[in-house]
Subunit: 365 residues, 2 copies
């Protein structure tokens, strides 16, 4: 068994786990469906009362004319890019170097849509207004991911978003929001979802991050944009006869959790403050701006794996089931706060982090 | 409310319905999951014990090295075509004019993969050996759909399949099976699934036709072909974090129904014989070769709609919820036998068809 699996296993065997809403058991589906009448009827290829009601509700919340449910954000976002590129006749879009489309989709944007990417900003910081304003090539769309997941979930200032939005409008560039974690950032910005979305021409949101659903995404925009996206959805093989296992559970968990993002945000800041008191440990961002952040260690991955396994086993509290290499001598893991955090006895959690601190001091000093 | 909706509604309100396994209620999902332990763990992006066990089981049944579960057949088959075209360096595939890829996918094969189609045979008959042997252009792949759904589910002779398979091998053309209804044709051919699949380089099967699952598909082939398909699956946006709502229910209903295809086939022949005794009615094929067939009427769609609504209302038996125009004076509907047929009292069903016969005689003579 690999080291990675050992940490995963040790994490899974703990009584309490810091990340998310609990294990991704099939109980997540069963719970959502226990609450539903078995005689409700599936949609057929996107048509039906249940899916249309869900899509209309999401359109209202996001302040857009229309939305459509997709099996995945990968599909939804590539399609958004394709539509904007086709409309302008320019097969280029601009986004962050660590954008999901650039690093997690096997180059689907280029392989399926022949769209080139222009990378904005350096890898280790968010996109600023100047990055967009100094674009040397014409692009059809700028994509902003809020928060920027791969650098700990950082955010630009809200004013920056407004400036970028105004600039793109003026230049005839569409602005798309990768809002996989849109609801998670609203407490920091102190804005509603529709206020944020009003800055963007198209928006994607996910249901299995902070919301804790099973899978699936919503794409939102003007009516004609959404109608066009449905044609591409069929082309991609995403127009399933029945998507109800996803959107009905998305609806269920959205109702449960969209109002709890302020709590997760507060808890993320609390937990980050504990980590920042540890020896050789720092969080990115130092003060989280959503329910997520990264924890960086001044120790190599293999060493941290061992310390984290021990912490799991000695305290019954799982701080993380993963650890990734940054350089040969540093490593990090991602924290994402959900319902799991609140049920950990506060003193036990602090004790677990104190234990990690002691182990760090002993091992790497 | 449109006429079409009226027939659908009248059909839904009947006590007994001829087609399929009952309404597509969410109970279909609930039933499959009621049987499962809530603590079973979701796969993560295609990796996990449950999905791997399911894929291995399907590989064994289909007699292929490997399989991968896809959210849809649309996605699976485009990807199969893409891989075969990339390998040969020829962006052309050959299939029937009423192939799913040609008429139901918004031209995804061309729009996403730049693959051209060469149409084999006339629309109203199945592909014969001579159609393949007389191909005037080089293609990377020939796709056969068994049974040919859009013409009532017709089949070529098994010997024809063997000849086509041998010919394609000799010519360096890959042979792909659109086996959405593969299990449904095994009783007619008197072959096992792996015997049929051995004639093909790649195979797609569906879980929501005769099997009656919720959605989803399996693509089967050699190990390296399947590994390559997973990369494309991610590009298409089909590599969801969790597909378990589909493959776990597919597994459940496959176990229940894959052994009942002989019964459905017998029942389809029985029902077709009843229709062929009606005035102005004939089935295609005259004697079904699977659980499906088409029923053709010597009357226009609007008139048949009315007669079918009356039959629903007067007998409590739904013969079809749909009727489609063929020409301005003829129409048809599709029959697909599942568990629903067997629970209709035989005398009541015959009486319903006699009533339709009487109505036909009265209306169109």
């Amino acid at each position: 068994m690999s080291e990675k699996n050992s940490l995963q296993d040790a994490y899974k065997q703990t009584k309490f786990q810091v990340n998310g809403h609990g294990p991704r058991y099939i109980q997540v589906l069963k719970e959502a469906f226990d609450a539903l009448d078995g005689q409700l009827e599936s949609e057929m290829y996107g048509k039906g009362e249940l899916i249309e009601a869900f899509q209309q509700n999401m359109a209202r919340i996001l302040g857009k004319e229309a939305t459509v449910f997709f099996p995945s954000g990968t599909m939804a976002q590539q399609i958004a890019m394709r539509i904007w590129c086709d409309r302008k006749g320019v097969k280029k879009v601009a986004y962050h170097p660590l954008c999901h489309l650039e690093i997690h989709e096997e180059n689907g944007l280029k392989e399926l849509h022949q769209i080139e990417s222009v990378l904005l900003a350096e890898k280790d910081r968010v996109i600023e207004f100047e990055d967009v304003a100094s674009l040397s090539e014409d692009v059809s769309c700028v994509l902003l991911e809020l928060p920027q997941r791969e650098i700990g979930g950082q955010l630009p200032e809200y004013e920056t978003l407004v400036k970028i939005s105004d600039y793109c409008k003026e230049k005839g560039i569409k602005l798309h929001l990768d809002g996989a974690r849109l609801f998670e950032i609203l407490p920091y910005y102190e804005k509603t979802a529709d206020e944020v979305c009003s800055l963007f021409d198209s928006v994607y949101i996910s249901f299995y991050k902070g919301i804790g659903g099973i899978a699936g995404a919503i794409l939102a925009g003007d009516q004609d944009f959404i109608e066009e996206s449905k044609v591409w959805k069929r082309r991609h093989g995403g127009d399933l006869i029945s998507l109800y296992p996803y959107y009905l559970s998305a609806d269920y968990y959205f109702e449960q959790r969209s109002g709890k993002m302020g709590q997760y945000y507060d808890q993320a800041r609390e937990l980050a403050s504990y980590y920042n008191e540890c020896y050789g440990v720092s969080t990115l961002p130092e003060v989280p701006v959503s329910n997520m952040f990264h924890v960086h260690f001044a120790a190599p991955k293999e060493q941290m794996e061992q310390l984290l396994i021990e912490t799991c086993q000695e305290t019954g509290i799982g701080l993380s089931g993963h650890i990734r290499e940054v350089t040969g001598t540093t490593s990090y893991f991602e924290v994402s706060i959900g319902d799991g955090y609140g049920i950990i006895p506060s003193e036990d959690l602090k004790a677990a982090i104190r234990l990690l601190d002691a182990k760090m001091k002993k091992s790497i000093r």
